[in-house]
């Protein structure tokens, strides 16, 4: 009888506890992506999708803050620039890899050494890491990196593709193929299982040095077709999908489970203007400064932004973001130089169409890579024709475009989209530095002694303030000479559940450690 009296409250308590435990469902986010992971070995590939997913599993030594672009320490706790070519890096202590191996200086050195001592066939990023001459271990949690020359972009380059730190012990045990098949890092999420062609399942790293992520289970699903991704969002098959097109915004917003967040990417739509003709062509009209100026005045950027869905897209005449961004005068940002009357006047003054390389202006473009790419090229062609240019529009399928036109075979104009994922100006400078142009078949074939001198100074100037001044001068010079005409900084729109807070990073990198559930 006594036992029966006790049994009732015990059963009730157990039921309540069970209900509580069952009520705490695992917090799961399913992300739709166009492509899956090709390889879990960080330096083995360039493909964006792999990098996006991998960066949730691996940590780099340093990495750009995804909102400010400033470099922050991940596995590096602090760093010191000992000389123009020597950096000391103090590593984070008490960090373990997902398999339990402790992270030490041996792993940091090993991760860089295996790239720079390999070959191009093994690691496609081999060339990109040749800024490192040697990595030396000072003690268990300190390394020194010697660069091949003065390198103000050192930290940015150290966070480039392939920066994910791997466990020396694990790689030696399983070999390169083993690592390619199953990634083990120190990142906020651990790899649980994956199918290269269809999904990746990650779970929260409870012991993450930056604190346990709010998501318990993070799933990436490979869904190549845009309309299928939308259908999955609407039926709850996925929770998060980047690259939502403007025509689908209403449908997403009408679903109370979902919300849309628009953010400014680091990518800029722009035109390359050929300064010299490609092989086999006698002359290009864009070699004439007045023609370049008239093209600049003929394009209404606001209309192009509307075409790309409007929102947070921003007018710019530069490729952002760079640490010196705030030093660049407003004349290069937020302005629309559209003035069709001025464009017509300039053309009349120089006697167009009787000009070298005229009258036809060829505009090359492609489609399918970025929002409204083909439509933007068509609209630019119409705007140019509106002020009197004779335009030949040449739109090609992407791989054909890349092989036949992109690498230096373009005529007058080419619509392109440039990003600066490095958050350092070196990539921006590279586009206009003719010293690189001698080796690199650039789209502009631009050469200017003053610009080259500034580029040379910016590439070795170790004082950040002085470097910013040089870059500011460089940016203005380039905007005046117009080897490229930048149009606007692109926005992207991501769909996500209504009950989460998440700021997508400007480079589109899908890092989910900062996602928070609001209920």
């Amino acid at each position: 009888m006594q036992r029966n009296k006790l049994l009732v409250p015990v059963v009730l308590l157990a039921t309540l506890l069970m209900g509580f435990v069952l009520g705490q469902e695992a917090r799961r986010i399913v992300v739709a992506q166009g492509e899956g992971v090709e390889n879990w070995d960080p330096p083995a590939g360039w493909d964006t999708a792999s990098e996006w997913i991998e960066m949730n599993v691996y940590d780099c030594l340093v990495y750009p803050d995804r909102e400010t672009g400033e470099m922050i320490g991940w596995l590096a706790e602090s760093w010191e620039n000992l000389s123009d070519t020597l950096w000391r890096i103090n590593l984070r202590q008490g960090v373990n890899f997902h398999n339990g191996d402790p992270f030490t200086a041996e792993d940091a050195k090993f991760s860089i050494d295996r790239i720079i001592s390999a070959d191009r066939e093994k690691f496609i990023v081999f060339n990109q890491w040749q800024f490192v001459k040697e990595v030396r271990i000072v003690d268990d949690y300190t390394i020194e990196i010697e660069t091949t020359g003065p390198d103000p972009s050192f930290l940015s380059e150290l966070s480039g593709t392939g920066c994910g730190v791997v466990s020396k012990k694990y790689v030696e045990e399983v070999g390169d193929d083993g690592l390619a098949n199953f990634g083990v890092g120190t990142g906020p999420f651990k790899l649980v299982e994956y199918d290269r062609e269809s999904f990746v399942v990650l779970e929260a790293n409870e012991a993450y040095w930056g604190g346990k992520p709010d998501i318990d289970e993070l799933v990436f699903r490979v869904i190549p077709e845009v309309s299928t991704r939308l259908a999955e969002l609407l039926t709850g098959g996925v929770d998060n999908a980047p690259g939502i097109l403007p025509q689908d915004w209403d449908r997403i917003e009408s679903d109370e489970r979902l919300k849309l967040v628009q953010y400014l990417t680091d990518r800029v739509y722009g035109l390359s203007l050929a300064q010299t003709p490609p092989p086999g062509v006698e002359a290009v009209a864009t070699s004439i400064p007045e023609i370049r100026e008239a093209i600049d005045y003929a394009i209404d950027r606001d209309e192009l932004i509307e075409l790309a869905g409007g929102g947070t897209s921003t007018l710019t005449r530069l490729t952002p973001p760079i640490p010196c961004w705030d030093r660049v005068e407003p004349a290069l940002y937020g302005v629309n130089p559209y003035n069709p009357e001025m464009a017509r006047q300039i053309l009349a003054d120089i006697g167009y169409p009787d000009v070298a390389g005229g009258p036809t202006i060829t505009l090359h473009g492609t489609f399918g890579q970025y929002i409204a790419q083909k439509e933007i090229a068509e609209t630019i062609a119409a705007m140019l024709e509106e002020v009197g240019f004779e335009v030949e529009l040449d739109i090609r399928e992407f791989s054909n475009f890349r092989e036949t036109v992109y690498r230096g075979n373009n005529e007058e104009l080419m619509l392109q989209s440039l990003g600066n994922f490095t958050t350092d100006p070196w990539l921006f400078i590279l586009n206009y530095d003719s010293r690189f142009g001698e080796r690199l078949p650039t789209r502009t074939r631009f050469s200017n002694e003053e610009v080259d001198t500034l580029a040379k100074q910016a590439n070795v100037e170790m004082d950040p303030n002085r470097r910013c001044e040089i870059i500011n001068e460089f940016a203005h010079k380039v905007a005046d000479l117009r080897p490229t005409i930048e149009l606007f900084q692109m926005a992207d729109t991501v769909a996500m559940p209504s009950n989460v807070e998440w700021t997508p990073p400007s480079d589109g990198m899908l890092l989910f450690v900062n996602l928070r559930f609001t209920n």
């Binding site: 590939g45 290269r196 490979v222 039926t235 092989e403 590279l430 690199l440």
Partner: protein, 319 residues
């Protein structure tokens, strides 16, 4: 008696299998040359800022700088040992990727084949037996309409109706992580893929049945007082099957190849999607291995169809 009949047949089968070898050799040559004519794979591998010298270094590392006949001989000598090289993109052996994708496409193709046969046979037979009625008009109208629908459009429409609106089926994937039964995931892509087969077979069965039904032996069967069902199944259908089986055999190849768009729309991780990605990325090793395997499947299915004739019509003998 049976053993005696099989002896000349086994000679025929051996000859047909041997014939596959030179055909496959021809396929390797054509595939190899076509892929190289399509463009430079290195251009797709390297980032924008690589110089010409750096691109050339990558080209040398992958062996693309060698004369084309040297590359072909090297490819062939490895291929006969089952080594198709590694994918340029994920460094995995191309054959491993193909091996993983084939069963998934085969599941889809088989389901589409079964659906096609199950739907097309009754439709074709009923349409023939009810010739020039509204039912016949409806079936032939459906066959023409279905044939003219682009696969990708039909797939998207089926998703909108049956997955998004009615929620009867999941939108995409194979069910590996959705928790829903595999067959539910399989139905929409398989039905979309089967539409071509359904429409082709329906029209073919209708005309084959109409042709056979006028034959004297059918009239005789009916005159003998055989039940209509027995007459149709035993005398009409069996004799109508020969042209139908030929087309069904050819359709297997079409189902394996036609799954490219379906797999893309339904995020089905099979051969079609793998090949599409590999072609876009100029991933030659994977494209070559995939095309060779597809060719082999087509040749084997043709051989099986030829052999099936002898089962359907004992008068046919190969020697």
């Amino acid at each position: 008696m049976r053993g005696g009949a099989l002896r000349p047949m086994s000679g025929y089968i051996a000859r047909r299998v041997l014939q596959i070898i030179p055909v496959l050799f021809g396929v390797t040559l054509i595939v190899f040359l076509m892929i190289r004519l399509k463009g430079d794979p290195v251009q797709q591998l390297v980032p924008d800022w690589y110089s010409e010298e750096q691109i050339q270094e990558v080209r040398v590392a992958y062996g693309f700088d060698r004369p084309i006949h040297v590359q072909y001989v090297s490819f062939l000598s490895r291929a006969v040992r089952g080594d198709f090289g590694r994918s340029f993109h994920n460094r995995q052996p191309a054959w491993d990727m193909i091996k993983k994708a084939i069963p998934r496409t085969a599941q889809l193709a088989l389901a589409a084949f079964v659906l096609g046969v199950v739907i097309a046979f009754p439709l074709g037979i009923i349409s023939a037996l009810r010739r020039n009625t509204i039912l016949d008009l409806a079936v032939t109208g459906f066959a023409v309409w279905g044939r003219s629908l682009p696969n990708f459009w039909l797939g998207i429409m089926l998703i909108l109706v049956f997955a998004v609106t009615l929620r009867w089926f999941p939108v995409s994937g194979t069910g590996a992580i959705s928790g829903q039964p595999f067959l539910k995931h399989l139905f929409l892509p398989a039905f979309t893929l089967s539409m071509g087969l359904i429409t082709t077979l329906t029209r073919l069965i209708r005309s084959a049945v109409l042709e056979v039904i006028r034959e004297d032996y059918v009239t005789t069967a009916r005159a003998k007082g055989l039940r209509e069902r027995v007459t149709i199944v035993r005398h009409v259908l069996r004799n109508a099957l020969i042209p139908v089986v030929t087309v069904m055999g050819l359709q297997i190849a079409w189902l394996m190849g036609g799954s490219v768009i379906i797999e893309q729309v339904f995020a089905w991780p099979g051969m079609g999607r793998l090949m599409l990605q590999a072609i876009y990325a100029r991933d030659n090793s994977v494209v070559q291995a995939g095309l060779l395997v597809t060719s082999l499947i087509i040749m084997v299915s043709n051989l099986v169809v030829d052999l099936l004739y002898t089962v359907l019509d004992p008068r046919i003998r190969y020697s």
